[in-house]
Amino acid sequence: MSERDVVIRVEGLHKRFGHLEVVKGVDLDLHKGEVVVVFGRSGSGKSTVLRCINFLDDPTQGTIEVAGMRLSGGFRSRRKREQIRQLRLHVGMVFQQFNLFPHMTALENVRTAPICAGIKDNRIHAMELLEQVGLADKANEHPIRLSGGQQQRVAIARALAMRPDAMLFDEPTSALDPELIGEVLAVMKSLATELHMPMIVVTHEMGFAREVADRMLFFHEGVVWEEGPPERVFDSTQKPETRKFLDAVL
């Protein structure tokens, strides 16, 4: 892949919480149309990397490059805050707990960010997005009246509303009842295969990884311990730690 195709570039990322260093030097490129699945034990730093990419967690060291903007962590001046905001507009994020806005309907949830960005006539686009995640008929429902799977699909539509260059999924199905996981994964898969949306997915859904991922990253003790295409990671695992983890989740 050429240099031009890089959508997100993480270089030398470290993240410390107090004395605890959770991420210890991670480099990661996400290319156009690429699906990267990140997996590993809890506490291995995988979610933190995702949260550092859009500065929900502040990188202790290292840089994040998105859409030609290269930012590092540290003191947030007014100018820096605005740069971070601009960066976030290019990256959609989906959370484990959905984090839909409970006081808004599904449609309002999808419309609110573009409206904040000055795009007022976005009703049609928002309805298209809800259609895309299969929830056009729930447009006027509040989140509490939706199932977990439906809420997460609305959350995906909401993240897509800003027309991001890439998507970040932070364990999007971990909070769901088993029977609801499939519908969310299906939406993510269509996003990847039909729209070629570049995405980094932190998940333990190994079926999804094998089917959709272009590349898999195994996180262990704050670093990328092993990486490769799914076939290699699954079928000719290089590191014993990866094997052990895979055997536990498969």
């Binding site: 859009n54 929900l56 905001r85 601009q86 976030r88 507009l89 990256v91 959609g92 994020m93 959370f95 707990q97 984090n99 839909l100 806005f101 409970p102 006081h103 808004m104 309907t105 609110t112 960010a113 904040c116 960005a117 509040h142 989140p143 509490i144 009246r145 959350a155 909401r158 993240a159 800003m162």
Partner: protein, 305 residues
């Protein structure tokens, strides 16, 4: 089973068939009957009360002016205070810390007198010392009308208490909500206005209604600043007319009735507002039905959801 036990059992069974609300209504009727008896025993001059009712009730207008002015000021101050309290700006944090500490730490009546009497004095002395910097026209602004000074004091005092209510309300909004707004590229203002505050208000409104109802009655303190009759509120009018006719208790009873009626009216509106902001938290489509259901089960006083 013994006879007595059987009778008790039958009584309990019969009682279980009477609706809860009917029983409560009955309790109220009994209480009012007792109060009515005391009222009758005390031989209050009801004719005087009737004759002077309108005179005292005219104070409603100013009571409402003061209370509404006070609560508006208090809400604005509480919002600013709470945002300062959770901000990382040391100036904002420091000012709001002092504000809450001082206005919660001193009596309301003292604050009223300070604003009414001390401010003009500061103004006069400033003008004497630095006549160029503080011309008379400017320092004269510190001489306030009693009602205005009272309203200011009420707003400042209640704003300090409500700062804590607002802060708790804002912090009660799940952190994921703010993160979702951040991740969507909203500015701090947008995040607060569209995501955090609407959810915080749901938590804030019941105790704020409570504060407003408390303030409604603390407006009576303004009378101690000696407001002119022309713009006196309920309590001041009751005092004035009661004193002149030696019917103090009757006058105060009329005032009490008016305050109580006001409270009932505002409690009604507070309930409606609570139901409104609970949209999105109640599964049932019909909110009014849902809130009625809550009230039936005794949850009405504590708010919905």
């Amino acid at each position: 089973m013994t006879d007595a036990g059987g009778r008790l059992e039958r009584l309990a069974l019969a009682s279980a068939r009477v609706p809860f609300r009917l029983k409560v209504a009955l309790v109220w009727v009994v209480i009012f009957a007792v109060l009515g008896f005391f009222f009758w025993v005390a031989q209050f001059d009801t004719e005087w009360m009737r004759d002077n009712f309108t005179y005292i009730a005219k104070g409603l207008q100013y009571t409402l002016y003061i209370a509404i002015g006070g609560i508006v000021l208090a809400v604005v101050l509480a919002l600013l205070g709470a945002l300062a309290r959770i901000s990382s700006n040391p100036i904002a944090y420091g000012i709001s810390g002092f504000y809450v500490s001082f206005f919660r730490g001193t009596p309301l009546i003292v604050q009223m007198f300070l604003i009414y009497l001390a401010l003009p004095q500061v103004g006069i002395n400033l003008h004497d010392r630095y006549p160029d910097l503080f011309p008379q026209t400017l320092t004269n602004q510190l001489i306030l009308d009693a009602a205005v000074a009272g309203t200011l004091a009420l707003g400042l005092n209640y704003g300090a208490y409500m700062t804590e209510i607002f802060r708790a309300g804002i912090q009660s909004v799940a952190s994921g909500q703010g993160e979702a707004a951040d991740a969507l590229g909203m500015t701090y203002r947008q995040k607060m206005r569209r995501v955090v505050l609407p959810q915080a208000f749901r938590v804030i409104i019941p105790p704020t209604g409570n504060e407003f109802i408390a303030m409604l009655k603390d407006t009576a303190l303004v009378s101690f600043l000696g407001v002119a009759v022309a713009n006196a509120e309920i309590f001041r009018r009751a005092q004035l007319v009661g004193k002149s006719d030696f019917q103090n208790l009757e006058a105060l009873l009329v005032a009490a009735g008016l305050y109580w009626a006001l409270t009932i009216v505002f409690t009604f509106f507070q309930r409606r507002l609570e139901a409104r902001v609970s949209r999105g938290y109640v599964r049932s489509q019909d909110l009014t039905a849902a809130s009625a259901e809550e009230q039936k089960h005794g949850g009405g006083g504590g708010g919905i959801g």
